[in-house]
């Protein structure tokens, strides 16, 4: 008997601050090429002795993870699974600079230790004393979705009952400057929102988004995670068939989907994928979120948070709706689609519970 997977807790640290009830009403579209997250105070969560070695990404991850656990009232999950595209970029850069600038002399271990991709998952485990399964996926824009797939399989097969799953990526100077050079990030002197974007590249921002996924439905359950699919390569012509096959294996048709949450990031060269995707469906509300929290490899984790909140509240705030279609029925099935520069496509299906 396959078990269900419920989202029972959410936490996030983003460019719009932390995850909270009025998150969308207080948000403003980003206009900078590179955006830092609004940092909460970490004092109550992380002792100064631990915090002194942690870059922002690690702290953000710990904070978002704890928010997600608290909301679900889980002390120690059975497993911790994270996704990150660039890992602990700041410490990697710091250690590399030390090597290059000091000609391999007088190097200290802290930045190297913290630069490992699985540092966030490991630090969360260390802090919670969680000896369970601990994985980190690092595959560009499906890093988080890989983690979600793993968690989902474990819950479905009853290998675990409560899993902490999340995505985190931090901004670091040099790496992001290089991403600007190759056009992934808009130039610093371009100030466009996704809505009025006319240029290639995206506005980037760091973020951490975590979830407690459980077999058990509770009074706080947001929704159910129905299915996930990942695909490294796809042609635009195959997108409809890819989506249809996914819906069919879940016993659904395009007409059964009540809203879409799409990864539009303002890159004029690649946002066309989402336009094509929208055309697969009849006229339904289309939602976007990266204009608020920015692009990073794991920002699509926030799509899950957004959809979960919409399903629970059955309201679509105007700031995140992309088209003009009025919601005329209960939000039951919400489909999420994300890709980055035409690669690493993911579909996530969430259902009300």
């Amino acid at each position: 008997m396959k078990k269900s997977r419920y989202i029972n807790g959410i936490g996030a640290v983003t460019a719009q601050g932390i995850w909270r009830t009025d998150f969308f009403t207080e948000s403003q579209p980003l206009q900078q090429a590179v955006n830092a997250a609004q940092q909460p105070s970490y004092r109550e969560l992380i002792s100064p002795a631990m915090a002194r070695r942690m870059s922002r990404g690690i702290k953000m991850g710990i904070y978002a993870a704890q928010q997600a656990l608290d909301e679900a009232q889980i002390d120690i999950p059975d497993a911790i699974i994270t996704g990150t595209g660039l890992g602990c970029s700041e410490d990697s850069e710091k250690f590399l600079r030390n090597i290059l600038d000091n000609d391999e002399e007088f190097l200290t271990p802290t930045a190297f230790i913290q630069s490992t991709h699985n540092t966030v998952a490991a630090q969360i485990a260390l802090r919670l004393g969680c000896k369970g399964y601990n994985f980190t996926y690092v595959n560009r824009s499906v890093s988080f979705e890989s983690a979600l797939l793993d968690a989902s399989m474990q819950l479905q097969d009853a290998e675990a009952t409560d899993i902490l799953v999340g995505g985190v990526d931090e901004v670091s100077d040099h790496t992001f400057r290089l991403l600007q050079l190759v056009g992934h990030i808009k130039p610093s002197d371009v100030h466009e929102t996704i809505h009025d974007s006319n240029s290639p590249g995206a506005n980037y921002a760091e973020s951490a988004t975590f979830f407690t996924l459980s077999q058990q439905k509770t009074a706080y359950s947001y929704c159910e995670v129905q299915d996930i699919n990942l695909q490294n390569k796809l042609s635009q012509g195959d997108l409809a068939a890819f989506t249809k096959e996914f819906l069919e294996r879940n016993g659904l048709h395009a007409g059964d989907i009540d809203a879409l949450v799409l990864g539009y990031n303002g890159d004029k060269e690649f946002d066309g994928w989402y336009d094509i995707f929208e055309c697969i469906f009849p006229s339904i509300p289309s939602i976007y979120y990266k204009h608020l929290i920015g692009q990073c490899d794991t920002s699509s984790a926030f799509a899950v948070a957004t959809a979960a909140k919409l399903i629970r509240e059955q309201i679509i705030p105007a700031i995140i709706q992309r088209n003009q279609v009025t919601l005329d029925r209960p939000l039951r099935n919400v489909l999420l689609y994300n890709q980055f520069r035409g690669e690493d496509h993911s579909l996530v299906l969430l259902r009300s519970c």
Partner: protein
């Protein structure tokens, strides 16, 4: 008897002891290690360390792979492509589109070998830009998938030195759950100045040949390698009339939750990982005939792992060895090359030796196998542990 497990139908490997299965096997049987001074990486540490380096330059690797001029394959990607292609070729003419096929790769350094070379030069030289996007860990997986012609579920795991074990584990679970019919799993890591200096700051590199499980061990030798396995569902095995090389029957991952880099004294994480793997395989400790230990030869790892082995096997410690003295510690690739060694051990009914061992550790009641020996092997267990307390165990069973 173990549970049915997932069939391993292809293996491919490149490391400092050989670029084919045959070369690797020959080195293992003749006790020929691949540890030398470093040649391909410009580093101040070159006279202070010994490494398991693959003696092909990047140009030679690109030629072996027939890459076009102007390619942007990092060394990590090239090693990965080479070993993964060998694993798939072992199937003999295989249409990647015929079944739901995926790739679960792993790496710890990713494209750091080029990032450290061009880090500042990138700002000045647009000709180097193609390498900017090879920095992330996912790049090598994309390159491997393209090289093999895999379109489907492609992802990457990075949990430091246990990475490939976790890629193998996830691959097996995807087959078991029916999400994939076939999956290429493994890991790749090239030597880089970044990791060499990183391990040096931790003061766990020895300036001699490493001595796993020796009382006087002084630390590890780093290495580079890639290895991949093809896992296929029972359905594919039957339809394609495959003869599985071995089965992956058990797997487990646990976290030591003790320290960011060091292992706990009692090896709790390692103990939990081995226990989980035994449970998944439905085997008792007494069913394990050989253990390919993580055995990095650092004072901390070998003590912690030794204690965990003692806790699992009590007085009935099976034959065991660490093959790190042959290859060096190849980080994210380590569990994959050792998985290949385990498959070879099962196929040949042979145990590969633990080189450079002289004196038994005073804390342990047992010593590793130091000579090649014939043994009746049905189930073998392989350990891999990484930073962040990441502990993984895999169990392979005879086909």
């Amino acid at each position: 008897m173990a549970v049915a497990g997932v069939a391993i139908t292809g293996i491919g490997i490149i490391s400092s002891i050989g670029k084919t299965i045959e070369e690797s096997q020959h080195a293992l049987l003749s006790g020929t290690h691949g540890i030398s001074r470093i040649k391909n990486v410009e580093t101040k540490q070159k006279e202070r360390i010994w490494v398991g380096e693959i003696k092909y330059s990047n140009t030679e690797l690109a030629d072996l792979l027939h890459l076009p001029a102007g390619h942007n394959y990092t060394r990590t990607a090239m090693l990965g492509c080479y070993a993964a292609k060998a694993a798939v070729d072992a199937l003999g003419g295989c249409d990647m589109g015929a079944y739901k096929t995926g790739l679960i790769s792993s790496t710890s350094v990713g494209g750091m070998d080029y990032t450290e070379r061009y880090f500042y030069d990138y700002l000045e030289n647009p000709a180097l830009y193609p390498y900017i996007t090879t920095h992330d860990a996912g790049d090598s997986s994309h390159k491997i998938a393209d090289y093999l012609g895999i379109q489907g579920l492609v992802t990457t795991i990075s949990t430091a030195c246990s990475s490939a074990a976790n890629a193998i584990m996830m691959g097996a679970r995807l087959i078991k759950s029916g999400r994939l019919d076939r999956v290429v799993v493994g890991g790749t890591d090239a030597l880089s100045k970044f990791t060499i200096n990183g391990f040096k700051t931790l003061m766990i590199l020895t300036d001699e040949l490493c001595q796993p499980f020796d009382q006087n061990r002084k630390g590890l030798n780093l290495g580079e390698a890639a290895a991949y396995l093809v896992l296929e569902s029972e359905d594919v095995v039957q339809r394609e009339h495959r003869k599985p090389l071995a089965y992956l029957t058990g797997y487990g991952n646990a976290n030591d939750a003790f320290h960011q880099t060091a292992s706990s004294e009692d090896g709790e994480g390692a103990f939990l990982a081995m226990r989980k793997a035994l449970t998944v395989a439905d085997l008792a400790p007494s069913d394990i005939d050989y253990v390919n230990a993580h055995g990095t030869a650092t004072p901390n790892n070998d003590l912690s792992e030794g204690r965990a082995l003692q806790r699992i096997f009590s007085a009935n410690m099976p034959l065991f060895s660490s093959t790190k003295a042959f290859t060096g510690h190849t980080l994210a690739a380590a569990a994959a090359i050792e998985a290949v060694f385990c498959v070879l051990a099962l196929q040949k009914q042979i145990i590969f030796p633990n080189l450079n061992f002289k004196t038994q550790m005073e804390e342990l009641d047992f010593s590793p196998q130091t000579e090649v020996c014939q043994a009746s092997l049905t189930n073998v267990l392989s350990n891999s542990f990484g930073f962040g307390g990441n502990c993984s165990s895999l169990i392979f069973s005879k086909a």
